[in-house]
Symmetry: C2
Subunit: 209 residues, 2 copies
Amino acid sequence: MTKYQIPNATIKRLPLYYRYFQFLNDSKRDKISSSELAKAVQVDSATIRRDFSYFGSLGKRGYGYEIAPMLEFFKELLNQSQTTKVALVGVGNLGSALLNYNFSQTNNIQITAAFDNNPSLINTVVNGVRVYNVDDLATELTTQEIDVVILSVPVASAQKVADQLVEAGVKGILNFTPIRVATPDTVRVHNVDLANELQTLIYFLNNYS
Amino acid sequence: MTKYQIPNATIKRLPLYYRYFQFLNDSKRDKISSSELAKAVQVDSATIRRDFSYFGSLGKRGYGYEIAPMLEFFKELLNQSQTTKVALVGVGNLGSALLNYNFSQTNNIQITAAFDNNPSLINTVVNGVRVYNVDDLATELTTQEIDVVILSVPVASAQKVADQLVEAGVKGILNFTPIRVATPDTVRVHNVDLANELQTLIYFLNNYS
């Protein structure tokens, strides 16, 4: 199959597989049974087999998976041999926490620039990342060749900043604000809606216990 | 259909619909066309219609949706007439940001207790929420009748704390740590994996642009 037929749900599980093979490799393991893998990543074996099948024949039935080649495979698939630079806009509580979050612990991702409009934050350094004036967004993103941005500004300015990001040529936005921002089709937005996650969990508990 | 047949993807969109009808109601709107709703929540009309169909006939084709009854419907469905109390374990950078995050802005959810093992945090108050000693987890959760917990502890203690939560009778865990914690089937865990979200976005940008 071509990559264009890979389901979104599968794609969302790829970093999880990658991370777990990384962990196994660090633990000097050689291979893992499909049942042990299923238990560790909490995805059932049939789903794992189907996920892997989109990328050709990975692993043999009844034998399990060899760790080194699997790790290599996912590393290349997820482009982990090169670091992806990411910017963050909105250095409030959540933004600061994200600047301090160790994305590179498990993935080859690094936040290399932050932006805010608060004069007391501009030109400070948070966890090694410089905070720029949000007015310099377009210039800095272009100079630093960054096209993926984490959006953690207050709701009231979410759409305005999203417009600026689009204008600056950004290709992807990880939106932590509780509203859905409108962007052209050329810009991909993934939403991480914290209240929504909590609400969904509570809905399940109230209705399926 | 019974509620047991509602797809997870639909359930995850319910808080979004609720929040948007809340916004429309606050804006004194009476009704909304299905195309405007689709555009605002960024879910296509056919999916919205299918989502709503699980709950019987909401709205009329070609007429759109009346806001007040829709809001009432979702409010009841999501149990928004009563506040759900939630606890948070792990008051680090991310935990503090979550304590400061305004969950009640859009949902009837309130974090009412926090826990940590850091003596300099214990008995402090963060955004109105008292931080308790993690040793008092079971007692406090029982006394305060809390059975939903946000887990934002360091990776190294994630499974240990998850075990304590299970022991304390917790029913649902919103897991912000980058590992999957093992729990019995009676405890529901939803994972919010920030590095995963960013990695998935980057994968899409690298492969589908």
